[in-house]
Point group: C2
Chain length 475, copies 2
Amino acid sequence: MAPGATLGIMNGAPESNPDLPGRLLARLREELPADAILTDPDVTASYAHDMASFCEAGAPAAVVLPRTVEQVQHVMRTATALRVPVVPQGARTGLSGAANASEGCIVLSLTRMDAILEINPVDRIAVVEPGVVNATLSRAVNEHGLYYPPDPSSWEQCTIGGNIGTASGGLCCVKYGVTAEYVLGLDVVLADGRLLRTGRRTAKGVAGYDLTRLFVGSEGSLGIVVRAVLALKPEPRGQLALAAEFGSAADACAAVCRIMEGGHVPSLLELMDRTTIRAVNDLAQMGLPETTEALLLAAFDTADPAADLAAVGELCAAAGATEVVPADTHAESELLLQARRLSLTALEAVKGTTMIDDVCVPRSRLADMLEGTARIAEKYDLTIGVCAHAGDGNTHPTVCFDAADPDESRRARESFDEIMALGLELGGTITGEHGVGVLKKEWLAREIGPVGVELQRGIKQTFDPLGLLNPGKLF
Amino acid sequence: MAPGATLGIMNGAPESNPDLPGRLLARLREELPADAILTDPDVTASYAHDMASFCEAGAPAAVVLPRTVEQVQHVMRTATALRVPVVPQGARTGLSGAANASEGCIVLSLTRMDAILEINPVDRIAVVEPGVVNATLSRAVNEHGLYYPPDPSSWEQCTIGGNIGTASGGLCCVKYGVTAEYVLGLDVVLADGRLLRTGRRTAKGVAGYDLTRLFVGSEGSLGIVVRAVLALKPEPRGQLALAAEFGSAADACAAVCRIMEGGHVPSLLELMDRTTIRAVNDLAQMGLPETTEALLLAAFDTADPAADLAAVGELCAAAGATEVVPADTHAESELLLQARRLSLTALEAVKGTTMIDDVCVPRSRLADMLEGTARIAEKYDLTIGVCAHAGDGNTHPTVCFDAADPDESRRARESFDEIMALGLELGGTITGEHGVGVLKKEWLAREIGPVGVELQRGIKQTFDPLGLLNPGKLF
């Protein structure tokens, strides 16, 4: 049964009320133009899933694509009046099913609210609607000499609203942090249609509980973000990267520890294991070195990146690197990054389907995480490629499997879970940047414990007493 | 009437139960050693106030000084059983009365829980108890080549627990951000004595709602922080500063805008007005230039601070600086910083009492804020010195008054309020870093509006259904 179905019944809708779909559409049409409401099942079905394609999803009653805050308010007032669940969506590039439709829900796609309302170089802020694509914003602020750091792999597709909902990370986090650190203030339409303004457009502010931060990573379960004030940084210099090859993952992880312990501040510190390297070569013929067990990519956007790379290269060599290759140009560096960005797509091509873990451990435990993951792959006789935001200890063990093979699918799920258990055992978290969605619900409870779950449910109840917002996600 | 008194009555305690003090002490003594409970009214009175000395406060029934988490749990279980309000305290250096006692409350001082439990240079974290003094932690991590940035002016006295409760800022925020950005995880004793663990010790993590951030700045109203995992940075190079003198505050503010717009990343960018400069000279004979209307201090801890200072010096000159004096040594730079750190103390000496505003505006509106503040000082015939974390737009207009003069006190309060109204009008916040406490309660509601207040109250209700934790603060 789809996650939303239970809740639909609990709320006395839609099952208990056969006229509901007609009434729902009639009410929606009162304040939404015809082209903002999709009901053709072939079309709405394409809105049912994010990129965690194997996660369960229901069939939406309708997909709505509002262009204004008032239209979003109308959708939420309608949903509240008729007790219909609402699933907010961006570009559906999420990896945990957090944007998957519930049975009979309204899918609320924010993609048409895609205006950049303001870019202010003195205040170093941008004000945007939620449907702005990450790359579009990044390029727009670059033109003002500014930088919006969060850069998930899907940055050419994903929206800022989705980034806020899932608290996205990316490659730059090791130096620049995650989405949460760039969200200063929000306009949010609440479940009942009221508008809440949180936070600020100032550099600092501590007026009351931090509601802004509460919405970041809440996966649309507390309200619909319709406007965001984002902090920007000055645009850094172009970064220079190096690649270091290692005969073992343990050596590469030791290098990561020495680099961070040494006080270096790389703008990127990534790891790809042999499986990932081969997958990327297979997909894109990039000529990455296939004889190595682990490839470390480090980059600096400092005043003297060559000097920093030289120092880091020495640390890699001391940790046992068999080869250290600094890129001489920004273009060469970009190529290395591109290889890293292709990793998840490349691993997906191995067997057709992947389950992407997102375990973040203290970086001092990174070697234990990789070693344990290799053991799990062997135990379940599976291909598990690992790429990692190594500088943050954030690993993406990616279980490659054939979804048409029930036994392999079962083993995939079991190994996926065992990897999360290992992460918790090592003092880590089940999700560094992808979120919980439907994929890791049980694991959220294991990580935060019963007291944490009780308080989170209390917060949910405060914001969404009828349980209409993205039901069945998180917990 | 003291803020706690109402609540005491509402909860049927202590007024409605004359035996309460005796029962309370008996219960507390069951699991706390004798030296952890203070009841001598002369002694407990010294715990009634933070540094906002004019804010109202009640008389505590007892002050408890636990040394362990279990003792804190016992205090909270006792408080819940007997319905006694609890006011958590650090070093009482706060500036908004947030740590002021409620009538008949237990003051829960965390100052004896002052252990640094761990400093980890690979993971770049420290794990501390709440009573650790900010400067003690800062120096301890320095020995490992690490840096804990948040540096409120009171850093030699204030505790990390207090910093977390009030979400403190400091001089370094313009580059390094505020306390909230350095709190990764917390252990919190809830109102009913249960222990909640939030967050993580990893660099990233998005498992569920961000409860950690919810506690930061909550002024002890949601739970008692008993342990914190803090993020650390590599220790920066020593910073070099310059001082620039301006013939008007507007010129100094224009320089701030040009510096930030130019993509510079100063480690400090502070402003002192003439009143503040004179007050500091009077207090500490520092020989600051008294003929100037506004002094701007800028510092850099970059690879080449002299070059950055030269560029910023030119921007200051272009904005109308009458004199630009770069410090040649770190020692000279430290002296300038020391002058800035003394500002609030120096202004307090002018008339004996101060009300320190903490309005943060978008930095593009800084000039309007200073001009408006000068107008307000004139209107109310008061001395209002302004020092500001100018790079963040965070001003501290400081109303100097004689608390024994009722008319001056009334004018002081009115001007203090008018300054906050101006801040909101300019798109700012009533508090950039000092918090709400009892001083700005009405203003919090004005800033966040009725929907915001309703949701904040809902969160409070979830965490503290009996309203025992620091009642009468925030809202």
